[in-house]
C-alpha cells in the first residue's frame, strides 16, 4: 500500500510540473490558435540559459531567475514578431510547420552557442528525502510543485482579475469583436508569446534541475500533448487538472503494469487514457466546443 502512496505522490508532484509547461502551450493556443510545437524547445533553451548562468561564478540565484525570466519574455516577443507575424492569415498547418522548424532552429542554436554536453542545474535543495509517515517525498519535487502552483495561481489571477488578462481572453474568444471594442490584437498576440516564454523559463529551471539541461528537455514538450488534449486545448484549469491526472496515471501504471509487460507502459498509457476521454468529450474535459456552421 505504501508503494501505491509513494507512486501517487510522486506522480501528482510531477504532474504539476507537466502542468506548468502545458500552460505555456495553452496560452499561445488560446490567444492565437497556434499549436506551438516548439514549446518544449523553449523550455530547453531556458534550462540551458539557467544552467549556464548558474555556472558563472558569483551569480546569485535570484538574479539568475530575474535575468532568465526577462530574457525569455524578450525571446517570446522576438519570436512572435519575427516569425509568427508574417504568417498571420496563412493556413494553420503551415504555421504549425513553422513552429516545428523553430524547434530545429532552437535545438541547433543551443548546441552551437552552449555546446552539446549536458549541463548541471544546481538548485539549493537537498537530495535526501523527507520521510512523512510511510512515504518518501523528495524535496526537489516539492519545491518544483510549489513553484508550479505559484505560477499557475498567478496566471489564473492574471486572466481573471487584470485588464490585460481579460483583454487576452476576449481576443481568444472572438478576435473581431475584441478589435471592435478597441483591444489591440497584435499586442495581445505578442503578450501571449511573452508569457509562454515566462512559463518556459519556470519550466526550464525546474525540469533542468531534474533532468539536467540537455537537448532532451525538448521532449518534455512532447509529453505535454496528452496533458493539454486531456484538459482541453484552450483551458488553463484543464491544463492543471490534466497534468495532475496524467502524472498520477503514468506513475501508478508504470509501477504496477511494467513488471508484467516488460516495461515502457509510461509511454503510451497517457495516450490511451487520452483517447478514451476524447471519445466521451471530444474537446477535452474543459475544452471549448467549437460550433460549426455550414
Amino acid at each position: 500500500m505504501e508503494f501505491f502512496i509513494d507512486l501517487m505522490t510522486n506522480g501528482l508532484l510531477v504532474g504539476l510540473m507537466y502542468a506548468l509547461v502545458a500552460v505555456g502551450f495553452v496560452l499561445i493556443y488560446k490567444a492565437t490558435s497556434i499549436i506551438n510545437f516548439a514549446q518544449g524547445d523553449l523550455v530547453m533553451f531556458a534550462g540551458y540559459g539557467a544552467a549556464v548562468m548558474l555556472g558563472l561564478r558569483g551569480l546569485p540565484l535570484w538574479l539568475m531567475v530575474l535575468i532568465l525570466c526577462l530574457g525569455m519574455v524578450a525571446l517570446g516577443f522576438v519570436l512572435e514578431r519575427g516569425i509568427l507575424r508574417p504568417m498571420v492569415g496563412q493556413p494553420l498547418v503551415s504555421v504549425i510547420m513553422v513552429t516545428i522548424g523553430l524547434s530545429f532552429v532552437l535545438q541547433g542554436l543551443v548546441a552551437i552557442v552552449w555546446g552539446a554536453g549536458t549541463r548541471k542545474l544546481e538548485l539549493p535543495v537537498p537530495l535526501a528525502p523527507y520521510v512523512v509517515g510511510p512515504v518518501f517525498i523528495s524535496p526537489i519535487n516539492v519545491v518544483a510543485a510549489v513553484i508550479a502552483l505559484v505560477f499557475l495561481i498567478a496566471f489564473g489571477l492574471f486572466f481573471t482579475r487584470s485588464r490585460l488578462g481579460v483583454a487576452m481572453r476576449a481576443v481568444a474568444d472572438d478576435q473581431q469583436a475584441a478589435m471592435v471594442v478597441g483591444i489591440r490584437v497584435s499586442r495581445v498576440f505578442a503578450l501571449s508569446w511573452a508569457i509562454a516564454g515566462l512559463a518556459a523559463a519556470a519550466g526550464g529551471i525546474i525540469w533542468g534541475n531534474m533532468l539536467g539541461a540537455s537537448s532532451l528537455l525538448s521532449l518534455v514538450g512532447l509529453k505535454v500533448f496528452p496533458v493539454v488534449i486531456l484538459g482541453g486545448l484552450d483551458s488553463i484549469g484543464g491544463a492543471i487538472v490534466g497534468g495532475l491526472i496524467l502524472g498520477a496515471v503514468e506513475s501508478v501504471a508504470a509501477g504496477y503494469l511494467d513488471p508484467y509487460v516488460g516495461g515502457g507502459t509510461k509511454d503510451f498509457i497517457p495516450y490511451v487514457l487520452m483517447i478514451l476521454v476524447l471519445f466521451i468529450r471530444p474537446y477535452g474535459i474543459w475544452g471549448h466546443e467549437t460550433i460549426e456552421r455550414v
Binding site: 505504501e2 508503494f3 509513494d6 507512486l7 510522486n10 506522480g11 510531477v14 535545438q107 541547433g108 548546441a111 555546446g115 552539446a116 554536453g117 549536458t118 549541463r119 548541471k120 544546481e122 537530495l127 535526501a128 528525502p129 518518501f136 523528495s138 526537489i140 531534474m210 533532468l211 539536467g212 540537455s214 537537448s215 532532451l216 521532449l219 503514468e250 506513475s251 501508478v252 508504470a254 509501477g255 511494467d258 513488471p259 516488460g262 516495461g263 515502457g264 509510461k266 509511454d267
Partner: protein, 414 residues
C-alpha cells in the same frame, strides 16, 4: 518575391557545391571512415568519441603515418538515424574507406549485410551486436572490445566474487528500453537462475529520463541489494540522482560501459555520485603514453588542451582509432599494398597482445573471436575523478560463448 529568389539561389548554390565536392582520394593516402552522432540522442558521448578518433589519427600522421602513408579519416554526421547512416556508409565506400566505425547499434544491424557484401570491415567496440563475436558467422564485423554479453557476464562475476552475492541476493537490472539495453537480459536472467539470485528487470522507456517509478520500485518495494545499470545518453545521470533521492547507496550500483563517463558524474553532481561503480574497456585518465603524446601535440601547436582529453568517452575514441590504425598497419605488413577492405580484415584478425601502453587489456583477435576476450575493468567515482577500482577481468565466459554459438545456430536455421 526577393526572398524567394534568394532562397532558390542559395539552394542551387548549395547543390552545385555539394556535387562539386565529390573529391577522389589522393593516391598514397589511406582512407578510413566513420559515422558520428553529434546532434542526436547519444550526443553527450559522440562529442567526445569523435574528437578522440580524429586526434589520434592526427597524432599518427604527425608521427609519420602508417608505414609512410598518411591517413585520412572521414567523419560523417548521421544524428543516429539509420537512413543517414546508410548514406554515410555509401559515401565513405565511394571515397575509398578501407575500415569503418559504425556508430550505433541499430546502424550496425542495418549495415551488416552491406559490410558482408562489400567486404569492408566495420568496428563496433563496446556496443553493436554481441553475436558478432563469432567471426566466422560475421567475418566483417569486429566488436574488438567487450560486447554487452561479456559486460553483463563480468558484472555478475564481480557481484559474486567481490560483491558478496549469494543465493537470495536481490539484484535489479535497470536498463534503457531499446534493443541495446535488452541485449544482456537473457544472460542476466540465466545467471540469476543458475546462482539462485532474486532478480528483476526494470525498463526505462526512451528517452531515458523518467525512471522515478522504477527507482521507487527498486528501492522501496523490491529493496534490492545491488543495481546493475545499462543506461546511456542522459539516462545515467538521472538514474544517479533518482537513486540518491531514494537513499540507495551508490557503491552498490554497477553500470555497464556507457553509463560511466565524467559527463554523467558532472551532470548528476560529483558529490552526489560518490562511490558509483562503472565498467570500462579502455583506460581512463591522462596517465597513458598515448594520451600524453596527444597532449604534447596540442601544446606543440600552442593550442589549449581540451578538457575532455583523458576522459572516459574520449579515450574510447582514441582506442577505436588505434585499433583501426593497427589493423591497417598489420594489413600492409602482411599483405602489402594497395590496402583493401579484405586485407584490413585479415590485419584485424592478426592483432595479437595489443595494449597500446597499458591503455587496453592485451587484445588478441582471431577469426573465431572478434571480440578479443571481453576484458573489462571497474572504476569508481571518488572526489572529482574516476579512479581504478579493480584490475582487468572478465566473467562467465563459457555462458557468453554458449550464447554466441546459440545465436549463430539460430541464424543458420532461418
Amino acid at each position: 518575391m526577393r526572398l524567394r529568389r534568394w532562397m532558390v539561389g542559395c539552394l542551387v548554390l548549395a547543390c552545385v557545391i555539394g556535387v562539386g565536392s565529390m573529391v577522389p582520394a589522393v593516391a598514397d593516402e589511406i582512407v578510413m571512415g566513420g559515422q558520428c552522432d553529434r546532434t542526436g540522442p547519444t550526443k553527450p558521448v559522440g562529442i567526445q568519441i569523435c574528437p578522440g578518433v580524429l586526434d589520434y589519427v592526427k597524432l599518427v600522421n604527425k608521427q609519420g603515418g602508417v608505414k609512410g602513408h598518411t591517413l585520412r579519416y572521414i567523419e560523417v554526421e548521421h544524428g543516429y538515424k539509420v537512413d543517414r547512416g546508410v548514406e554515410a556508409y555509401e559515401r565513405l565506400k565511394r571515397d575509398g574507406a578501407v575500415a569503418l566505425l559504425d556508430y550505433g547499434t541499430p546502424i550496425v544491424y542495418a549495415l551488416t549485410p552491406r559490410h558482408m557484401e562489400d567486404k569492408l570491415p566495420g568496428l563496433t567496440p563496446g556496443f553493436g551486436r554481441a553475436d558478432s563475436t563469432d567471426g566466422e558467422r560475421y567475418p566483417y564485423i569486429f566488436p574488438m572490445a567487450a560486447s554487452y554479453w561479456s559486460q553483463i557476464g563480468a558484472a555478475m562475476q564481480y557481484l559474486k566474487d567481490k560483491g558478496g552475492a549469494k543465493k537470495g541476493t536481490k539484484i535489479a537490472y535497470l536498463f534503457y528500453d531499446n534493443p541495446a539495453g535488452r541485449e544482456p537480459l537473457a544472460i542476466f536472467n540465466r545467471i540469476c537462475e543458475m546462482e539462485g539470485y532474486e532478480c528483476r528487470d526494470f525498463a526505462v522507456p526512451a528517452p531515458g529520463v523518467e525512471m522515478a517509478s522504477q527507482v521507487l520500485d527498486i528501492t522501496r518495494r523490491m529493496r534490492a541489494d545491488w543495481v546493475v545499470g545499462h543506461l546511456f545518453g542522459n539516462a545515467p545521470s538521472v538514474s544517479i540522482k533518482e537513486l540518491k533521492k531514494n537513499g540507495f547507496p551508490l557503491d552498490k550500483v554497477l553500470s555497464l560501459v556507457w553509463g560511466a563517463g565524467e559527463e554523467d558524474m558532472k551532470t548528476a553532481g560529483w558529490d552526489t555520485a560518490q562511490g558509483y561503480l562503472g565498467m570500462q574497456f579502455a583506460g581512463v585518465g591522462r596517465d597513458f603514453p598515448v594520451i600524453q603524446d596527444i597532449i604534447k601535440m596540442y601544446q606543440a601547436e600552442n593550442q589549449e588542451v581540451p578538457e575532455h582529453v583523458g576522459w572516459v568517452y574520449y579515450n574510447r575514441g582514441v582506442l577505436i582509432a588505434a585499433l583501426m590504425v593497427e589493423g591497417v598497419r598489420l594489413a600492409i605488413e602482411r599483405e602489402g599494398l594497395p590496402v583493401t577492405g579484405e586485407k584490413v580484415k585479415k590485419g584485424f584478425e592478426s592483432i595479437k597482445d595489443f595494449t597500446l601502453g597499458g591503455f587496453l587489456p592485451p587484445l588478441t583477435v582471431v577469426p573465431e573471436d572478434h571480440e578479443g576476450g571481453g576484458w573489462v575493468r571497474l572504476y569508481q567515482t571518488k572526489g572529482e575523478k574516476i579512479v581504478p577500482f579493480t584490475d582487468w577481468f572478465r566473467g562467465y565466459r563459457e555462458i557468453v560463448l554458449e550464447e554466441v554459438k546459440k545465436a549463430a545456430k539460430a541464424e543458420e536455421k532461418k
